[in-house]
């Protein structure tokens, strides 16, 4: 159950991430609608969580002492579904039902339908608060599990996030960790200049997040969200701190929107989108190699 004790080597995590990315772009193309950029920026973090960190048991998704994970940026659901499928919560083939009628895989995560989902999300800004409630409950009940929440950087514009940032240290929630998927782009966002109307500035690029969170009483770490050594190192610091500092931790993970595929990486225009047959072939080659065989 303790994933951190039996972590796969980084090249294996990287291969899993490439496969997850392929499933994301393939599934969205098949369902003809869905998000691309956010799921791809979060993939390495999700793979690291589910294959190298979370104490979970896919055969018993509701196990009481499991670590909790909340994808507050619920529109990245397909990224989470791909990782849950690879981790064994449900068959990979079920991804093909994403966004279809009667499917367990809704456009936004639904805890009542999908095994492995700890909180329903979809309206931005709510996940951290739900996680704080879980972490507070764990403290009150003397349970040792950890609660992880992922938000997007654009999501930090929601005021409710800051209600929780302000109050979480009061409850001593060192069993709560916020991961910011800082991919630097939101759906449309803020024009960066006049020269190119498709040039966009970072949602919170003007904010010193480490300083802000530290000022609110949190531990803060900034990492490269695509570097497994950095991600796992941050996870280790969180684990070592649990029960020690009384402070929640934020991991500010610098990522690239649309990461891993040449035509989606770094452009806000692939916030959502459906790849053409030709683009799918390009993505398959880039992610899985010329044979498309994967790992």
């Amino acid at each position: 159950m303790d994933a951190a004790a039996t972590r796969p080597p980084n090249d294996e995590l990287a291969a899993l991430a490439r496969e997850a990315r392929w499933r994301i772009v393939e599934t969205v193309a098949a369902s003809k609608a869905g998000h691309i950029g956010g799921p791809l920026s979060a993939t390495d973090l999700l793979i690291a969580l589910y294959f190298a960190q979370l104490a979970i048991d896919p055969a018993d998704p509701q196990r009481e002492d499991r670590d909790r994970f909340i994808l507050s940026k619920g529109h990245s659901a397909i990224g989470l579904y791909a990782v849950l499928a690879l981790r064994g919560y449900f068959p990979v083939e079920e991804l093909a039902t994403f966004d279809h009628g009667d499917s367990r895989l809704q456009g936004h995560p639904d805890m009542l339908l999908t095994p492995g989902i700890d909180a329903s999300t979809g309206s931005l800004g709510q996940g951290l608060s739900a996680g704080a409630g879980m972490a507070l409950g764990a403290k009150r009940l003397g349970r040792d599990f950890h609660t992880w929440v992922m938000v997007g950087d654009g999501e930090l514009e929601e005021g409710m996030v800051w209600e929780t940032v302000l109050s979480a240290p009061r409850f001593g929630l060192d069993n709560l960790t916020l991961i910011i998927d800082l991919n630097g782009l939101q759906q449309y966002g803020w024009p960066a200049g006049d020269a190119d109307r498709f040039d966009r500035s970072e949602p919170v690029g003007h904010v010193d997040l480490e300083r802000v969170f530290t000022g609110f009483g949190w531990n803060a770490l900034t990492i490269d969200g695509h570097d497994f050594d950095a991600i796992l190192g941050a996870f280790d610091r969180v684990t070592a701190d649990r029960g020690v500092s009384g402070r929640p931790t934020v991991i500010i993970a610098r990522t690239a929107k649309g990461r891993g595929i040449s035509f989606t990486e770094g452009t806000y225009r692939w916030h959502n989108g459906v790849a053409t047959e030709e683009q799918l072939e390009t993505a398959r080659t880039e992610l899985l190699g010329a044979t498309g065989a994967g790992r």
């Binding site: 009542l112 909180a119 709510q126 739900a130 996680g131 409950g137 409710m160 209600e163």
Partner: protein, 310 residues
């Protein structure tokens, strides 16, 4: 006479003393909502969340996933309006066993005025799937509702009035969700009321009696789910029905009864409630009189707007 908010604080403290699942989340209004009774008597069951209602709903949801049965306690207006998306997403959609104690509900809120009057809550909350919506009439029914809610496995919204009203019911009282109750019988006109307005409407029935009009009064503590068959049976073959509520005439009790009657009955409906306009800050008696909810004004309206006046 005891105010519902005091009954709420005392009952929840009572429940919390023996049930570890009970926890009260306060939005820094404990001395008003009387969550301070819980804080004083069972400190471990009290969680101060601060002036952050959206976070309060989210944390209650998180706690509920671990087996807790949290009560949200603050002025209703900050829950049903400011945190409505959080209630919709995290409580209604997930069927989380979160209890919403909507304090200072309705028009009468201690002269805080229109910013704090919650006269749309029933319309908003009854439109939400999975939500049980209750408006108890008095202290006796309120206590029964709070005790019933403790074991109910789903979201519950309860109106909790600030000020005491003349009791309608006598203890012992067992709350049956969904059931309409016959409070007074009469042949001339049929009234339906909910929440603490039922107490004032019962006084209106007495005034009508003095004027020679025998009114039937049905109390509807549960707006959702509703046993519509039972309501129709109580309404019988009445040709006119009057709803009376401390709520907007749009979407609350009047709206609910209109839906039921238009589907099943032929009675003409008169809706007494707050007009589609903003109110003001003033003492209770002034507000009840000016906005047509005092017993005298309700009796006047019944006489003026139904055939019994002819």
């Amino acid at each position: 006479m005891k105010a519902q908010r005091v009954v709420w604080g005392e009952t929840i403290a009572d429940l919390a003393a023996t049930d570890d699942r009970v926890v009260v989340l306060d939005g820094d209004l404990a001395t008003s909502t009387r969550a301070d009774i819980v804080a004083d008597r069972v400190p471990d069951a009290f969680v101060q969340v601060g002036i952050a209602e959206q976070n309060m709903v989210g944390m209650a949801f998180g706690l509920s996933t671990l087996g807790y049965r949290p009560w949200l306690s603050t002025f209703g207006v900050f829950l049903t309006h400011r945190a409505v998306d959080q209630i919709r997403m995290l409580v209604s959609q997930t069927k989380a066993p979160v209890r919403i104690a909507s304090a200072y509900s309705g028009l009468l809120n201690g002269s805080s005025g229109k910013t704090h009057q919650d006269i749309e809550d029933l319309a908003i909350m009854r439109a939400m799937p999975n939500m049980t919506v209750i408006a108890p009439a008095d202290e006796v029914e309120a206590e029964a509702v709070f005790r019933w809610a403790a074991d109910f496995d789903g979201p519950v919204y309860v109106r909790v009035a600030r000020d005491a009203v003349t009791p309608v019911f006598e203890a012992p009282y067992t709350f049956e969700p969904g059931q309409p109750l016959l409070v007074a019988d009469g042949e001339d006109v049929t009234l339906i009321s909910t929440g603490v307005q039922t107490s004032r409407t019962l006084d209106a029935v007495r005034i009508l009696a003095e004027r020679g009009v025998r009114a039937k009064l049905i109390h509807l503590p549960t707006l959702k789910p509703l046993d519509a068959d039972a309501l129709c049976a109580l309404v019988g073959d009445a040709r006119e029905v009057v709803t009376v509520e401390e709520h907007s005439r749009i979407g609350g009790l009047g709206g609910l009864v209109a839906e039921v009657l238009s589907e099943r009955g032929t009675a003409r409906l008169v809706r007494i409630g707050l007009e589609d306009r903003w109110s003001e800050s003033a003492p209770n008696d002034f507000l009840l009189d000016k906005y047509g909810l005092s017993p005298e004004r309700v009796a006047d309206a019944v006489l003026a707007q139904t055939a019994v006046a002819v």
